[in-house]
Symmetry: C2
Subunit: 410 residues, 2 copies
Amino acid sequence: MEAEIIAVGTEITLGQIVNSNARFLADQLRRLGIESHWQVTVDDDPARISEAIHNAWLRNQLLFVCGGLGPTDDDRTLQSTADALGVDLAVDEDQWQAIQADFKRRQAKMVPENKRQAYFLNGGMPLANPVGLAVGSFWQGKDHTVVVLPGPPREFKAMVSESLLPKLKNLMGKPIISRNLHFVGCPESELMDRIQAVLPDKRVVATSYVQPDEIQVRLTVHNETTTNADELLNTAQEKILQAVGDYYFGTGEEVSLAKQVVDCLKKKHLHISAAESLTGGLFQATICSVPGASNVFDGGLVTYAIKVKESLLGVPKEVIDQQGVVSAATAEAMASHVQKLLHADIGVGFTGVAGPDSLEGHPAGTVWIGIAFPDHVESFELHLSGKLGRQNIRRQSVQRALLRIYHGLK
Amino acid sequence: MEAEIIAVGTEITLGQIVNSNARFLADQLRRLGIESHWQVTVDDDPARISEAIHNAWLRNQLLFVCGGLGPTDDDRTLQSTADALGVDLAVDEDQWQAIQADFKRRQAKMVPENKRQAYFLNGGMPLANPVGLAVGSFWQGKDHTVVVLPGPPREFKAMVSESLLPKLKNLMGKPIISRNLHFVGCPESELMDRIQAVLPDKRVVATSYVQPDEIQVRLTVHNETTTNADELLNTAQEKILQAVGDYYFGTGEEVSLAKQVVDCLKKKHLHISAAESLTGGLFQATICSVPGASNVFDGGLVTYAIKVKESLLGVPKEVIDQQGVVSAATAEAMASHVQKLLHADIGVGFTGVAGPDSLEGHPAGTVWIGIAFPDHVESFELHLSGKLGRQNIRRQSVQRALLRIYHGLK
């Protein structure tokens, strides 16, 4: 069974937004073992929507039509799809009640068009929308399955994950079980080489996805019972962590390193603080991006200039003069001093060169990170590529500090 | 003349990467006034590449085929396009010399396939690649123009901007002159309503693009001499700034509000500092994202907990007790105290509710920003929608503070 993804939206053909839905869906299909060789985007024009569906119908069996399910005049997708299939529209009465209740609660005025968001392809099933008003459609004909999905990425992802994937898994008739491992601080090629070298069983397939702040490795098992699959995945994960556990920080779908660290600190009733130079506040902002950060973080310092490292933080002038501002001694002093100053259990110090210019003869990407744990102080140096650019050097520095803290607390 | 954008790449149909080239090119075409209603993506399969070109040929006159120009076996785009058009391939001898010189310089081993990167569609022209080895093709037939472009986004953008756009402008036979205005802090619909209401001349067209941290408004004039166009744009900009100048922070292609503020501070020899609560360091990290920030920023504080606002920053306990932590008085005290503590010319204080939970009875999105200028202290309140989520509330707060500082310095 081969799939084709049709996106409908003038905002895409005009180049205002990128078609992120197609990437998300294609990735999900690949994980299910469904091949997809065509993606087509047209604007909100009924004739072009019909032409796209007609072409797709001739060459593929599983069609996804995405976007254009809103209540306004330029939302023509569902009617155009129904016309192309030669079917009527039906009303999802439950959703129609829910839409009316939502408008009542918001004291908003309804127009007749709002009912259109409860329509789906007659003869098919409505797909529930966990975060929006428009339902989707799941329609099966003799040789074809046609799925209609909403355009806003948040609604799209929620409907695909919660309403569509279970149906597609049934359609495929074979179970696929997978888990997602998260890593930071190792180049992707090296990480995957080392993982492939220790994978104990060919039934477990590992694929990697580079994200801005991490590398995700997905382990997948096809066509096994749940018990067998779990056993295979457990063994694989164990071998992988023996090989590259130094870079690992969690397993699951919604895992972030900052959240792992905050959760870990919270569980151990520890508070953290930081004194940041090249990162300029990014470490603390990352900690504060986690809801509930106030349980583990009271505040800290940004000490960008040398004189502020001395005056506000109290790093001895002679340490900086003798060892240099980009040094283990300065990073450790920053960590220890901010730990004391904020009465924190853990203090972190960042000093280094974000670039583009070099500093004290160190090229951009040279970073020292000091960490004052309750019982000892340590530091390590990063030699990041200057080509990463200023922002990525700062983000990588933050992630590497978080990883070290996470492992230090375990 | 209508365009169709065909992307070739298994990495897109597998969902490994998003098709950012299509968005970039569609946006450029729109600016030139070229309509584009179709985008098609296929994997690296010659038969599907041919089918995509065949379909596009029947419905559009300007075809872009993007990706798959590398030297490896799965790079089939150019040969497939040549087959579909019924033409041969020619060698760009200059590029072939350049490729050989590049390999020699890198002391890398050449294989016969490397010569393929110097091929282009016979009867057309090669398109120079400013940052890579593979040339593109610009081929014109009786009713059709076919353009072949490389896949890596860096090479794609460079070739489109530097080699393709001048040719397309000639093809269009009419000059298009535009400028880009940047705004923050006004809802897009209100901003555009107010701009449309004052646009003095129908020959100036305004279109808006919402970016994560700003709204860009592009003014475009077609078919006028440069002098006329400049005059029209100057008048339009003047009227627009009279109407919505409060939200404006710059004109140009590469403008960021943080950079505008840093440049402005640098010119006036002023230093800035901040004490941040809900933003958790994000304001300072944003300032530090601008190269050369050290000229205007020495450091500052993150005062997340109330006790740190009092102990480290010296905000009087009675201010917080009597006025509340989310208040004008607290924001102004934070700004003034950090200004003094860091010997800065300008101090900024952020206090508010990032969410998801409310604080002191204030819902998520309630933010007070205090700014201590050299000669006065001021503050203002934001009522952002809680639906924006924690990160966007924090980012918006930072942008709104930067905007106020920018206008305060003007």
